[in-house]
């Protein structure tokens, strides 16, 4: 039971990492995610049911996600419309595309075929199968995290970070900001689709409605993570996202398990997730205000030598 939460959280964290790239690093709210996560699931499911190897299916899902991202970036770059609108356009179009990929069916089951979550228990046969799934997922997410960290510490990754902070800097350095946006939004959606591919295999089916509300859930995970600790280092930021994702899935589990006690049903989860994001934003802003108040108080004390009573 508890392993399930961790596996779900870890799979979910790969998507949250993708959202981190656009939302936090590039500072561009990209809603493509709702479509590309389902695209990843659909591509992986169709590949696997047609007898392709699992690594191949996941690689294809990753590339399908990159294509979705490139589409958003192309709309944003060439038509000069905000990233938000570009993402909504792609997301909406992807809904139809995903149904096509799934062969005009709303969902494709992955029964009687071998998936990642049949392979993990075989590979780690010395431990119970639930823990084997967890161990395999941990390994996979760890590899993705390390590659992610390395990428954002290399020259290109730093340039993408600079683009998020200040587009003029990147132009002054002779780089085309559009190219960097293609790369960043592409990679972001690649990760999101990869997460979708893992999710389809874990839950045993791919669904065209899989992506609904995923962006908001991803944001909730990122924000929950940000309460854990403060850091500028990319390795700690990604760790924070992974932990936040697991916490989010844990909260959802508690909601499903004990929610009935207070009259909460799974139908309420989207509302609750949205409220969670709003509360996180409020807490974050009050924290900043509190820190400023504290600094002000300290400064006043320094100046007045502690002689203030008001």
């Amino acid at each position: 039971m508890i392993e399930g939460i961790f596996v779900e959280g870890l799979i979910f964290s790969v998507m949250a990492l993708g959202i981190l790239v656009t939302y936090r690093i590039l500072d561009l709210a990209d809603l493509t995610c709702d479509g590309s996560v389902a695209t990843g699931a659909a591509v992986a499911a169709i590949c696997i049911t047609n007898g392709w190897s699992i690594p191949m299916a996941m690689l294809l899902a990753f590339f399908a996600g990159i294509l979705c991202g490139l589409c958003t970036a192309a709309i944003h770059n060439n038509l000069h419309i905000p990233g938000l609108l570009a993402g909504i356009l792609t997301m909406t179009m992807l809904y139809s595309v995903n149904l096509r990929i799934l062969g005009n069916k709303a969902n494709v089951p992955l029964v009687r075929v071998e998936t990642l979550y049949d392979i993990f228990p075989e590979a780690f046969s010395f431990i119970p199968s639930a823990f084997a799934s967890l161990a395999g997922t941990v390994l996979l997410v760890l590899v993705i995290k390390v590659i992610f960290d390395l990428f954002f510490r290399c020259d290109m990754g730093i340039a993408i970070g600079a683009l998020g902070g200040n587009e003029q800097v990147v132009i002054s350095l002779g780089m085309n900001p559009s190219t960097l946006k293609y790369i960043a939004i592409g990679l972001s959606n690649g990760l999101i689709a990869l997460s979708g591919a893992m999710l389809a295999q874990y839950q045993g089916f791919a669904d065209a409605n899989l992506g609904q509300g995923m962006v908001v859930q991803g944001l909730a995970a990122i924000m929950l993570g940000e309460f854990l600790f403060n850091s500028n280092r990319i390795s700690l930021i990604t760790l924070r996202v992974i932990l936040g994702s697991i916490i989010y899935k844990g909260l959802m589990f508690l909601g499903r398990r004990y929610g009935y006690l207070v009259g909460i049903t799974p139908n309420d989860f989207k509302l609750l997730t949205g409220l969670l994001v709003i509360i996180s934003l409020i807490v974050a802003s009050t924290r900043i205000k509190a820190a400023e108040e504290k600094a002000k108080k300290k400064a006043v004390e320094r100046v007045m030598g502690g002689r203030i009573d008001a």
């Binding site: 990428f151 510490r153 290399c154 020259d155 290109m156 990754g157 730093i158 340039a159 970070g161 600079a162 998020g164 902070g165 200040n166 003029q168 800097v169 990147v170 132009i171 002054s172 350095l173 002779g174 780089m175 085309n176 900001p177 190219t179 500028n232």
Partner: protein, 264 residues
Amino acid sequence: MLDIKHVTKVFFPGTVNEKVALEDINLHVDEGDVVSVIGSNGSGKSTLFNMIAGTFPVTCGTITLDGKDITRAPEYKRAFEIGRIFQDPTKGTSANMSIQDNMLLSLKKGMRGIGFSLTNENKQLFRKLIEPVGLQDRLEDNVGLLSGGQRQALTLIMACMAKPKLLLLDEHTAALDPGNARIVMQLSEEYISREHLTAMMITHNMQFAIEFGNKLIMMDEGKIILEVSGEEKKKLTVPDLIQRFREIRKKDFASDEELLTEAD
């Protein structure tokens, strides 16, 4: 070196807001020239820089840099040869990154690969480069923590690291207090003479304009109304300049006098 021929810029053509920002500008800058540009607000100084740097396309005319026609080149391609520093200290650096990451990006121009340039060797180089502004022990601090003057100095160092053919200084000391403005000005002059850069500087400070460089142009209503160089420029004084402006434009300077401030 830099040749501007018949450059005209019209903003919002064909609408009620149509504005001729530059009218038939002709300017030649030789290699090694250091040009100061003065003029009141709205005279077209910044538009001229935007045209040279490629922020907006010209309406007509041509711009040639070092024998290459760059009139239609996008801004990021021109940046290979043109370094630019803005009035706003936040424009030249990325605030949420460390000093060393910012400097790392300015090592060269153009698209980056997936290599790692943050070597100890480069860190030593960065340390040496920012020693003159006293930031050598803060390489890992975020740029957002620096003061406006420090940020502008860092921007200047970063712009010079890539050895641009032309350096555009767009009122780069205007947002700083007099003390910091002096320091950044001195630093600019030092770099320009050491690296033998060709530079253009917009300023509202007539004293700076007279002290700086070997050429001075004055702009008004989208035209270059005065061009002084060499010996003639050396003898120039602030009252002279104001007098010359009055003679040429035959209009009262009253409102502009406040904008064209004298020494600090």
